[in-house]
């Protein structure tokens, strides 16, 4: 059964446990640091590969501030930009990666994270008829606003707010793109 407590052995055992545990965690942290970094890189690379045509080198992560918001983006020489754009959706943040080629056309979009309602707004990550309409979209020719609000985007049935947020995220990414390219 448990040992009798006095101040000395209480302090000693707590210190010892904390030391051993943090030592162990330190070792594991160092061991897993490399795989964790690789896993994160692989995830980013996989998303970029989906939103931009072929690229080779691991693109550099950069960031820019537009209208007071910070955006992370990846510049891929010869292919275009992959811009991460986050807006408020129906259930919480909706984060997209938007690929825009050097001519200013949207190549593709992919949902990085969302907290939309399962079976309704969550379809924005899976419903191809919705996602694919943005492929090759020319922001100069067609308006990035859902039809209900007088634009050209077909919303997901029964999920207007999510569709609006998705469209807004893309429109923000387009703004970031024009800011990035205006000085070229």
């Amino acid at each position: 059964m448990a040992a009798k407590s006095n101040l000395r052995n209480m302090a000693l055992s707590l210190t010892l446990v904390c030391l051993v545990c943090s030592g162990l965690l330190g070792v594991v942290y160092v061991m897993t640091a490399e795989p964790i970094r690789k896993a994160e890189e692989a995830k980013v690379a996989a998303s970029i590969a989906r939103v931009l045509p072929s690229f080779e080198a691991q693109p550099e992560q950069e960031s820019i501030s537009v209208d007071g918001l910070d955006y992370t983006y990846y510049k891929v020489p010869g292919a275009g930009y992959a811009i991460i754009s986050t807006v408020g959706g129906f259930g919480g943040p909706l984060s997209l990666m938007v690929g825009i080629d050097e001519g200013g056309l949207i190549v593709n979009t992919v949902v990085l994270s969302h907290s939309e309602t399962p079976g309704l707004g969550a379809k924005c990550a899976t419903e191809l008829s919705f996602i694919d309409q943005f492929k090759g979209w020319d922001p100069a020719a067609k308006r990035l606003v859902v039809r209900k609000d007088g634009g050209d985007v077909d919303a997901i049935t029964a999920s207007t707010i999510t569709s609006r947020a998705y469209t807004k995220a893309i429109a923000n990414a387009v703004d970031v793109y024009s800011k990035l390219t205006e000085n070229e």
Binding site: M1, A2, A3, S5, S13, C18, T32, A39, T117, G119
Partner: protein
């Protein structure tokens, strides 16, 4: 109790969900699909077994008055270990289960078994206890996950057998409480026999 008994008691007699009613938060939150339930169960089992083993080893020398903080540090260490390993090797699972991985620390099942069993029994028995309760928890979470996935998405383990949507409420928050409630009723009925 026999070694086999230690392992099988988690399924019925000391089922952590239906009998002990512990660890409700992950049970409700992560069972939106069978796969998620299974993964959450396995993650909890990992921590449960390791913390049971270590705590049964150190319990005789830990002073009585600080045993709870010491146990919590041990459990938190294994949870952090699990977090790091999952981030490195199963990043997608880690993202799906999200907050509920760090919250294994405050899962009453883990501290409860440390207090009620591991601190008073041998290393071998404590490991068995961890496996048994862990398996019981995993099984229950998987069953709840299956029920919610079948009703809510019309699929099992991602295999779709009904085209289109299921009854969405079962994937959302209310469905979690309802399914758990009705499964408890069923469990009580069967246990009475």
């Amino acid at each position: 109790m026999s070694k086999l008994g230690l392992i099988t008691k988690g399924f019925l007699k000391e089922n952590p969900t239906f009998v002990l009613v512990l660890g409700m938060c992950p049970t409700l939150a992560t069972t939106t699909s069978a796969m998620n339930g299974l993964e959450m169960g396995l993650a909890t089992m990992f921590v449960l077994i390791l913390s049971n083993i270590v705590i049964s080893l150190i319990a005789p020398v830990v002073p009585d008055k600080v045993h709870i903080p010491v146990y919590i540090v041990v459990i938190a260490t294994f949870v952090t270990l699990l977090q790091l390993l999952m981030q490195a090797y199963t990043p997608e699972v880690y993202e799906t289960l999200g907050l509920f991985i760090p919250l294994i620390v405050v899962n009453c099942i883990v501290l409860g078994r440390a207090e009620a069993f591991a601190s008073k029994n041998s290393v071998g028995d404590s490991a068995m206890d961890g496996i048994g309760i862990g398996l019981g928890f995993t099984l229950t979470l998987t069953v709840i996950g299956i029920v919610r996935e079948v009703l809510g998405s019309g699929s099992v383990f991602g295999w779709k057998f009904i085209a289109g949507d299921g009854i969405l409420a079962f994937v959302m928050a209310p469905g979690a409480f309802l399914v758990l409630g009705y499964l408890m009723v069923l469990f009580n009925k069967l246990a009475k026999r």
